[in-house]
Amino acid sequence: MSPNLLYSTEEQDLRASVRDLLTDRCPPERVLERCEEGETGDPALWHTLATQLGATSLHVPDELGGQGASVREVAVVAEELGRFVAPVPFLGSAVLATSALLGCRAGQQRDAVLADVAAGNRTATLVVPLSSCVGGSFPTAVRAGEGRLSGSVRTVADGASADCLIVPARGADGPELYVVDAAEGRVAVDAVTSFDITRPVSDVEFDDVAGVRIADPDLAATVLDDAVRTGAGVLASEQVGVAEWCLDSTVEYLKQRYQFGRALASYQALKHRLADLWYELVVARAAARYAADQLATASDDAPVAVGVAQSLCARVARHAAEECVQLHGGIGMTWEHPAHLYLKRAKADEIALGSPSAHHGVLGPLVDLHPAP
């Protein structure tokens, strides 16, 4: 069956619910105020998203306490969260950690954590550098032995708000995944200053900490790779949301502002740049939808779809955000205008879960395009 690249009616309804909530609770002024006050997240909004909209359990099967939807719906939520640069740990918890948990073999421990995270009772994250790209070698920063973990990982997304940590670690027999309680005394989660103000990052250190193993060497590497791939695919939709806000707000701004007796929007050089952005957004959306669909159906083409979507959408969102700042002129350079929140998100997203060049390198061999020797 041909992949559906449109938004289904259910997806449109989901989008509307999320957008309504965010319009109400997370307008750009509010996000700016939070940044001003040094708050790096919005726990109340996160709680509402999880418990009232079920946004944290979309692609979790019914029997594990989820909605039984798919990555397509997760991507729709990500798109809206991107449009609002909402400061919630969706990527870390509902996407990366949840996808990793879903990949692990069923079992009492895993199922309990997954159900808690899906229900919004707990928040999780995947303890890898946010810049990790699919296809990389399994991390060796954390060592596991006899159920105890030691090591440190820098620049972990959404670490500070996480109650439980999904930790890739190298044990005696190879790659493993563990769940660690963030409240454990020997875990240090140090929030560091994030370039993307609305997505906090942390350095995480384990000093001989007890963890529960949820994936053995036969599975751990695949689980991690799949989780990071799913993250990258969903991030593409977030980037579409970011890009669309940037284009829309720039169009509105240029229509309102007059210079030399004419609306800025009437200057052809600007019009053509906006038209080019719109073109980019059209192709980015198609690529992001395809990636979401292929992940949702666990298609063989998912790795290609994600490589295409992530490398393209990353550039498009960054370009849209840069144009947004430039075409807003001076006001776009001020802290009081939200454009910078999008610029920071877009630029960080370009690096997050693999830069376009990194994805090119992974994608090429999948389509029989090998780097020159």
Binding site: S2, K271, V282, P356, H360, A372
Partner: protein, 402 residues
Amino acid sequence: MSESVTDTAELDAEGLRSRTREFLASNDPATTDRGEFLRARFDAGLAWVHYPEGLGGLGAPRALQSVVDAELEAAGAPDNEPSRIGIGLGMAAPTILAFGTDEQKQRFLRPLWTGDEVWCQLFSEPGAGSDLASVGTRAEREGDGWRVTGQKVWTSSAHNARWAILLTRTDPDAPKHKGMSYFVCDMTDPGVEVRPLRQITGEAEFNEVFLNEAWIPDSNRLGEVGEGWRVAQTTLMNERVAIGGRPMPREGGMSGVVADTWRKRPEGADAATYDRLMALWVEAEALRLAGKRLGQQLAAGSPGPEGSAMKLGFARLSQELSGLELELLGQEGLRYDDWSLRRPETVNFTGRTAGYRYLRAKGNSIEGGTSEVLRNIIAERVLGLPAEARADKDVPWKDLPR
């Protein structure tokens, strides 16, 4: 449109399928002459099912044409070689249908659809560029017809065409959009001269057409005198629908050609060019998906404005990819196959050599609406930005700067 005399229940997919089978039963493609078969298909209303009865259709939904086509194809029926008669099918026919008299529809549509008569389009002029409404080819009333003098350009198929759709200026004193009339021009008229127009590739895909007191009876006028611009809008709208939208496999276009070149490891295929190759490959794949998405939107009955994005991206990628290919080829990229003047029957953007592809791709952002005009359209119609200032709307055409 017109109420069918047959039971409307028949005009669903099942009805059309059985109608087609009935038709095939009485017109065996294996034993029927090709021309005869096509004429019979037209008369049976299976040519374009959304056209009215008697004009090759049944007044059925357009989307159901694919049902008929599939049945016919499965039976090994000949088609009307649509790529050879694209201008007739895509541009002339809808305009004749919308603006023609009954006599005109009866006279022109059947041989147009069967391919017995090839059509071309006489719109563009050397001095007009993207500003089609500035055409200066003069048609002057003489008795029960018109004398037409002027020069048209970028006319494909002109040397094979029996008829042309022709946009002329009939009132130079009126503002530019109001002084035009639209005709069907007989290409065999002695006042019509066709010359090949050589392009930068060396080929002559197109023609210049010189009209030197060509005679057109008034009965070949489409639409009212002075209404030519409105008629032409219908033609052009149908042109835009025809461009893009074809489903394509991955690497179906220029990206596949260049990817294959890369796979052969030519001298320029080094680490430095890999990222460029991949970025273009990715964009080409995304554009392909956008085309698929546009098709799904159309099928769902909510066509988006993405068509103009498709054309913009297609031109951009053809040019970037073919430019990269020449660099990959290095030494081989410095050679060309043949500069001699040829008149190809069909155009293949991905054909011949890398040098040809590079040069031919330059036309993709000019022909059928320049990328600059497309950006204006997107900015103004999709994004709602103000239109360009213009000073040519209320001035008599003859007084405009040129």
